[in-house]
């Protein structure tokens, strides 16, 4: 057989095979088609796509499927917020209100007198389960970064004292760190609630002073300094009435332990200092 003939034959055979297998694929595709609602893809495209799981569903695809099926609310994505809820709502013909934007705050700014040693323990949960709180403060940040591990936007950093803090500009308010902290030291607050206390130790001043150089000693100077009746002491910790707070900063100045902060200071200053 001549060379040219062979080339032509090769082309014909390959072409024929291509058509044959194309045919087979089309047949199989038709026989085994899985019907999916095209809206699921559209909703998935509207969602942030971070797959953080804060909505309680398995990733953004799972959330899209649940929203289309009606088993989830269109506002269930706290990361997407109202904007995304509105878009999905108009696509599916439903609507829901979202709450205010939330930011995580880690309520601890310690300089512990006897910082715990972490030989061979690599997680906060491990430390809490195995050792608990024999050294240092039982309410404060362990510093082994369970929260930073789960944060989908890498918003939690470690400062030079070894404690974790949230960079507020990066926080998407998913709440995964809240669940991860074994000391429950992280809480979600509305973005507008700028005044925050970086301590959650409810023991009296003497007990706190014995373990930490910067914990709240319930001296009450902040309460007395406030001219807007926005602070009161409860369980040895100041509680903020955000309706009255004007972020004037008098309490922050007066605090002898420097454990009150306003706004994004926590994120910026502590990250810069580390």
């Amino acid at each position: 057989m001549g060379v040219v003939q062979k080339i032509v034959l090769a082309g014909v055979v390959m072409g024929g095979l291509g058509v044959l297998f194309g045919f087979i694929l089309a047949l199989v595709e038709r026989r085994f088609r899985v019907e999916t609602d095209p809206r699921i893809d559209e909703v998935e495209a509207l969602l942030p796509g971070i797959n953080c799981g804060a909505c309680g569903l398995p990733g953004c695809r799972g959330a899209a499927e649940a929203m289309v099926a009606g088993t989830a609310e269109v506002n269930q994505c706290s990361v997407g917020g109202q904007a995304v809820a509105d878009q999905i709502g108009s696509l599916l013909g439903r609507s829901a209100q979202t709450g205010p934007v939330k930011i995580a705050v880690i309520h601890c700014c310690p300089s512990l007198k006897n910082p715990p040693q972490y030989k061979d323990i690599h997680t906060c949960l491990g430390y809490q389960s195995l050792i608990g709180s024999t050294l240092g403060c039982s309410y404060g940040c362990v510093g082994l970064g369970d929260c930073a591990q789960v944060c989908p936007s890498d918003a939690i950093r470690q400062d030079k004292n070894g404690r974790m803090s949230v960079v507020q500009e990066l926080c998407i308010g998913c709440g995964l760190c809240v669940k991860a902290c074994p000391r429950s030291a992280i809480r979600l607050h509305e973005e507008q609630h700028f005044l925050q206390l970086l301590c959650q130790n409810p023991e009296n001043g003497k007990a706190v002073l014995a373990v930490c150089n910067s914990g709240c000693i319930a001296c009450g100077l902040c309460v007395r300094a406030c001219t807007h009746q926005a602070l009161r002491l409860e369980d040895n910790l100041p509680v903020v009435d955000y309706a009255n707070c004007t972020e004037c900063g008098l309490c922050v100045e007066k605090c002898p332990k420097h454990c009150l902060i306003i706004g994004t200071q926590q994120g910026q200053e502590r990250v810069n200092a580390s």
Partner: protein
């Protein structure tokens, strides 16, 4: 007699000349899908299915089209065409019959197309001039050996997570060293079947 020959082929392709650990084919899924034993074994079964189906179809292609027309030089291209189509067929069927398995394998299912073990198997069948039954048994053995290698590495990797590994070796280095030692261990089968 015939059965003995088939059994020897099975043992040979599964253990003695294990596709992953002796022939060094299919390293990509070997390293990529061996984090957990469950997914590793699922991947193994999927690959075995692809191997057997491709072996039979490529054998038919060889016998009825390539050889009669003297188009052996088209082997590589034609085989890849067949393998790619077969994998797509299997994926489509799997998506309908077992969505959970389909989802857990994810992107690695279509990647079986590029698994050199599949093409390698098809070419070896042609090289050794097996008949269709021998080819099917060869493919089954290859698949079983592949699954075994994956499961072994997955088991070791699951244990390695709790081990105290020096920082320089953490991650890929220790896995590659482990794979090498596994490979050496499988040398123990050498000579089991006179090849």
């Amino acid at each position: 007699m015939v059965l003995k020959g088939l059994f020897l082929i099975l043992i040979s392709s599964a253990l003695v000349n294990n596709f992953v650990l002796s022939r060094f084919l299919g390293i990509c899924p070997f390293l990529g899908v061996s984090q957990k034993i469950e997914t590793a074994v699922s991947m193994g079964w999927a690959t075995t299915l692809v191997l057997v189906v491709s072996a039979i179809v490529t054998w038919s292609l060889e016998q009825f089209i390539l050889l009669p027309f003297g188009l052996e030089f088209l082997r590589y291209v034609a085989y890849i065409l067949v393998i790619a189509s077969m994998v797509q067929v299997i994926e489509t069927i799997l998506a309908k019959t077992s969505p959970a398995l389909h989802r857990s394998l994810g992107i690695f299912l279509p990647l079986i197309t590029t698994n050199c073990a599949v093409l390698g198997l098809a070419l070896l069948v042609a090289l050794k001039s097996y008949n269709v039954v021998e080819a099917a048994v060869f493919a089954t053995g290859a698949g079983l050996g592949f699954t075994l290698a994956l499961a072994l590495l997955a088991g070791i990797r699951e244990r390695l997570e709790w081990a105290d590994i020096p920082e320089a070796f953490q991650g890929t280095p220790i896995i590659l060293i482990t794979a090498g030692i596994l490979s050496m261990a499988f040398l123990g089968f050498a000579g089991l079947v006179a090849q």
